[in-house]
Amino acid sequence: MDFWRTEDQEALQDGIRSFCEGRFPIESLQLIESSGGRLDRTAWKDLAGMGVFSLRHDGFSITDSVLVFEELGRALIPGPLTATYLAATHLTSALSGADTGEMIVGLCEIAEPVTMIEHLVDLDRLLILGPNTISLVDPKSVPTQVVSRPLDPLTPVHVALATNGGEIIASGDLVRKWRREGAVITAAMQVGASFAAIDLAVEYAKGREQFGRPIGAFQAVKHMAADMLVKAEVARAATYAAAVNLDGNGDDNLDRSVSIAKMLAGDAALFCGKTGIQIHGGMGFTWEVNAQRYWKRAVVLDTHYGNSEMHADALADSM
């Protein structure tokens, strides 16, 4: 047993982190916001150039992918990253171009009370994930209603008014596999966003002075920061374990470990998001400070591939 990053995995993750810091500095998010959350196709191709979408064809594992997506989540890179990655992995011939960044593939899950489509105007293809099938549709053909003020300005959304039609391009085992991998890759991004929220809050607590000392010297603040780290580290362990299991290098209790990862990573991202805002005090509630962006992304990601509560219920059903 060796449940720690190998040297290759460390190099892979560090490489992606420096790429993100250079190509997607956190300051650039406000520019994307002012464009209404539109995706930059050149940037998308640069991601593809880093091999983000073609990882699996290039010999990387699900665990390696999780390390990469943790960094994408940390950088809050917007767009249908998971859907395009899974399309490039599992629907390679039907959706060729997903791997090279030529084709942006989105996915919407049929949901209650409403079905929402993210990044609709930038999508080249849209996948609709039903209970047992995945259908391919032309995004322009779906009747929708635009949401004028999305919760996360980096994630523009439309309400789908109908989701029927399209061509069924996956069912059965592939859909089960897709859901598992989608949940774990999303969990990885939630873990990354959690750690980024911690870094930001800790940096602020070190510099912000009140009552004659940095607020981070107060135990009330310290303990909040420690609690954030605890949630994030536990979620990370669960997410890596689920990925290793999906790679066939652990046990075969796949659905259980995936649900645990998604549940805890979702909890961690929401907790770190809101606690990061609290540590920033009034500044945390401003548009300017990035603390709010981690929380908003956490809300978005929690709704992908089943929220925390749904996964807890799935665990209960298997007990």
Binding site: M1, D2, F3, W4, R5, T6, Q9, T63, I198, V202, A205, K206, R213, P214, G216, A217, F218, Q219, V221, K222, H223, A225, A226, D227, L229, V230, E233, V234, A235, A237, A238, Y240, A241, A243, V244, N245, N249, G250, D251, R256, S257, S259, I260, M263, L264, E309, H311, A312, D313, L315, A316, M319
Partner: protein, 395 residues
């Protein structure tokens, strides 16, 4: 990253399982929790069996009689012994996991040859004399005084939370040998035989009703200077070396018990009737049980990460503190949940009729101690915030 066990690790597990299967039937039933003489015989008898089979001091270096097992093998050992309900480390705890490892690193050759075999064979039981009424989280402020008089130290003062003091043979003890210097620099580490004149040992009853803890009072107790480990006034550093033995396995048995407890709780919920149905049909309760069960699995994964890190680098990073904090909190939630499920049945510490409720109520009380013992959760949070996150100290 790979969660599969190597051939060597699997062979270790198979040998251990075979030995446990052959050996455990000959182990007598566990004595009553407060029958200390019988418990000592039971705990040390098990230690002797481990010694004879080559499993004593599993993580100790081979040259000092240990097995020299890897952290992963240590984890497998804890997992298998717990799974097969072998006796727990019990009152061999301080000797095997605290005093012994300290002696391995810091003691003189004479001290090692006299004490280490006694611990490994289950001949000597050790206790720990660190905490005092006024030195808890702030351990370095301890005041129990030792004054040099010829070849002896003369000790006067008090220790508290000394588990098994009333039946131990030796105590690893921290005393104040210099009051004039900063608190960490005036402490000395001593081997204290428990049969000296001038000691008064009083059991301290816990809220569980157990008398495992003791208070120990010292009135001019004479301990030979030859019993000192390390230099005079260097005891704080000596006491800290055991931390370097920590490989992320500290709460493994405890956590495995909780994993079983949560499974039992789910089974119990399926039998307890409520509103013409079972408690398991209560979505809130069910979801909470499932959540805890999932968190425990995640802590098991975290443990494997910590152990893997120790195997690679020789030490556990922040993962050890993270584990302790998360586990303490989770254990409390699990305890609350048991009482919620048991409702009025939680008013008894013993099983009621055919309902296996006693262990859940005992477990609930026990849970209250986890976030206090071995560093309170508040101190753990300070450590995480200051050492890992780099937040400034508040003093």
């Amino acid at each position: 990253m790979d969660l599969r066990y190597t051939d060597q690790e699997q062979a270790f597990r198979a040998d251990l399982r075979a030995w446990l299967a052959a050996t455990l039937p000959s182990v007598a039933p566990e004595p009553h929790r407060n029958d200390w003489r019988a418990r000592r015989a039971w705990d040390t008898g098990w230690q002797r069996m481990l010694f004879d089979a080559g499993y004593a001091g599993i993580n100790w270096p081979k040259e000092y009689g240990g097995r020299g097992a890897t952290p992963t093998e240590h984890l497998i050992f804890l997992e298998e012994t717990e799974r097969m309900r072998a006796p727990y480390v019990g009152m061999n705890f301080v000797g095997l996991l605290h005093a012994g490892p300290t002696l391995v690193v810091e003691a003189s050759p004479e001290q090692k040859s006299h004490h280490l075999p006694g611990i490994l064979k289950g001949e000597h039981v050790w206790c720990q004399g660190f905490s005092e009424p006024n030195a808890g989280s702030d351990l370095a402020s301890l005041q129990c005084r030792a004054i040099r008089d010829g070849d002896d130290y003369v000790i006067t003062g008090q220790k508290i939370w000394t588990s098994f003091a009333h039946i131990a043979d030796y105590c690893e003890m921290l005393v104040r040998t210099d009051t004039e210097v900063p608190k960490h620099r005036g402490i000395t580490w001593l081997i204290l035989p428990m049969n000296l004149k001038g000691m008064d040992i009083r059991p301290l009853r816990t809220m569980e009703g157990s008398t495992e803890f003791c208070e120990v009072f010292f009135d001019e107790v004479r301990v030979p200077v030859a019993n000192r480990v390390g230099d005079e006034n260097d005891g704080w550093r000596v006491a800290m070396v055991t931390l370097s033995f920590e490989r992320g396995t500290a709460f493994v048995s405890e956590m495995l018990q909780s994993m079983e407890l949560v499974r039992d709780l789910a089974d119990l919920a399926k039998k307890v009737t409520r509103h013409q149905s079972t408690a398991w049909e209560d979505t809130g309760l069910r979801r909470d049980i499932a959540h805890l069960s999932g968190e425990l699995d995640a802590l098991w994964s975290l443990t494997k990460r910590n152990i893997s890190q120790a195997q690679r680098t020789g030490f556990v990073g922040v993962g050890g503190n993270v584990f302790k904090l998360a586990y303490s909190d989770l254990r409390q939630q699990l305890g609350d949940l048991s009482l919620r499920l048991l409702d009025r049945a939680s008013l008894s510490l013993d099983d009621i009729d055919e309902w296996p409720t006693g262990k859940h109520v005992h477990g609930r009380i026990h849970a209250l101690s986890i976030g206090i013992a071995a560093g309170t959760s508040q101190v753990q949070r300070n450590i995480v915030a200051e050492r890992t996150l780099g937040l400034p100290k508040d003093r």
